[in-house]
Amino acid sequence: MTHEVPTYIGFEEYSERVPASIPSAVQQATNRFVSGRAARVSELPQWEELRQIGSDIRLHTIEHMDVYLTRLEEKVKAAGGHVHWAQTAEDANRIVLQIAREHNVKTAVKSKSMATEEIGLNHALEQAGIQAIETDLGEYIIQLAGTGPSHIIVPAVHLKKEEIAAIFSEKLDMNAPADPIELARIAREVLREKFLNAEMGISGGNFLVAETGTLVMVTNEGNGRMCTTVPDLHVAVVGIDKVIPDWESLTVFLKLLARSATGQKLSTYTQFITGPRCEEGEFGPKEFHLVLLDNGRSNVLKDPVGREVFKCIRCGACANVCPVYKNVGGFAYGWFISGPIGAILSPQMLGTKTARELPYASTLCGACADVCPVKIPIPTILRHLRRRVAQGDAIALPTMPAPIRVTASLASLALTQNWIYRFGTRLLPTLMSVFRRDNWVPSAPYPLSRWTKARPLPPFTAGFRNWWKNVRSAKTKESAR
């Protein structure tokens, strides 16, 4: 994964040259997760009720984020932890580096974290001569391979076992067999030694409970426990949007998360960490640092429609059902987060100039909103962002060229004013006959050419009103008979 913040996400360009192996591998994973989720959901009669409560609590938390973050900071400090606020990615990297230097850290073990991907922490650490080792098996594989994640839950799903064996053989200087169980065993052995000798553990977090200042982490492999239990120093980098009010709220999200993500009732390990170890000699880190990452989130809060993106609990269910994602995979979305949620988050955090193609990376079919455990209205936000991309609003300047914007405004006027519409339906067939070839319009003139880029248009007839008039009069005659 590139460590730099993208300056332009070329979704369209990428989607035209997706490697052939991606759709089949990604669909194997998504189909598995979709059926797993469906099975768990059907067992829980109160599922819809849970989703509604989950959505309500997240929205309430977003609207009171200042209150809960203030409470969180106070409680983490009371538990003996350190709290750092990072306004930008650079701030966050600088803070983590500073902590690492103070503790003379040479090696850091990392559990999977979207926030550290977002800020490019691994690169920053490596620049400073500190080795940062990903320990989630999938993340470890793609770190060795030097590529990015193709799926939020199974990041290396695009690699076949033979490819992974080749990567292990080359990078670990050994003869690795193409057997998933053997490969996992090799990774266990190599990483076990790293866990024991690393001076620092770095993690993200799934939730931050304001009530007690507790970091909640959900993992399956146990690497998350290793990173936060074995080294003497634990640093967690977590987005400010992960805060939730209290433990009662947590019951809702823990019930929603694993079921939606992997089709498990609960993931194997869920940890609740409140500050460092509290007894002298107790096993566990002596020091706990929480880096609260803003990186543009507080600006996104300005938009009452768009900010619902922060309800997200990162289950990946929206990607698993998305027909677009299933065909292009995670790389196409160009930043740390992919799928429909990435398509509404990246344009808001990076700006519509950089990510202007992403709101269009959707068919608006609505499957994502149907499965979202916290009911994020993804299609609504996509449309909202499309409008922002095209026309601009209080937050962003328009990115579409003026002729297209004018055409769109005219179309919107025509579709709302009856007389213009009627006039247009008479005028258009005549205008279009110039471009008509047989029974199709293969390419329309600029600025309408965008619509014929991928497929020809059928000639415009707009005969519905006439047709309806005839049908109605025929019916009237029939019933009069």
């Binding site: 203030t70 290396a156 799903v157 426990r225 507080s298």
Partner: protein, 216 residues
Amino acid sequence: MTNPVIDNIRRSLGRTVQSPIEPRPVIYASRQAESLESDMEHFLDEITKLSAVGEQLSPKEIDSALKSLVTEQNIRKATVWETASLRQLGVAEILNSLGVELVSANADKYEMAQCDLGITEADFLLPETGTLILKSSHEKPRAVSLLPRIHLAIVRPEMLRADMHQVFAEAKYSNYLVFITGPSRTADIELTVTLGVHGPRNLFVWVVEDRKNHHN
């Protein structure tokens, strides 16, 4: 001290320090406990689905159960939580008599990682998900359920709680809690489920019940 992040959040939300705090939306009612027997049955069912091994034993059966575990799993080194109830069951003595080398629960991480077996209790059990919930202290180190290749939890039925709500009400002020739901697992390579990738490969749960004291 002003905090620029909080300040910007307030600006974006149009809030001030004095802005009212609305009450958090109400949460649904939690699952209700069933009889101890049926909740225990539910629990054992769930852990079996998770590829863990659950058994119900009387205190007298611990001896022979440990003996077969040590033989079958080729256990040479073990570490045990230093709690009253495991002491009362004589777990350490039994292991000693079986020729298993005991590593102190507060040994360093390198020694802990050498252990084949870690024995803990649980503070709570959840029937619906087959989950063990462990707190942490000097006597109950987190490493015992993590570093050895096999984790054995010796639990009692009265640790069962109806739902997470009850567990959280009792345990939310602990500085560390872990929910363990089955052995360590991954599906990261070609979606093949592999157990024991970083944490224990095998999880055994023995429910010990003193039937003399058991009132039906």
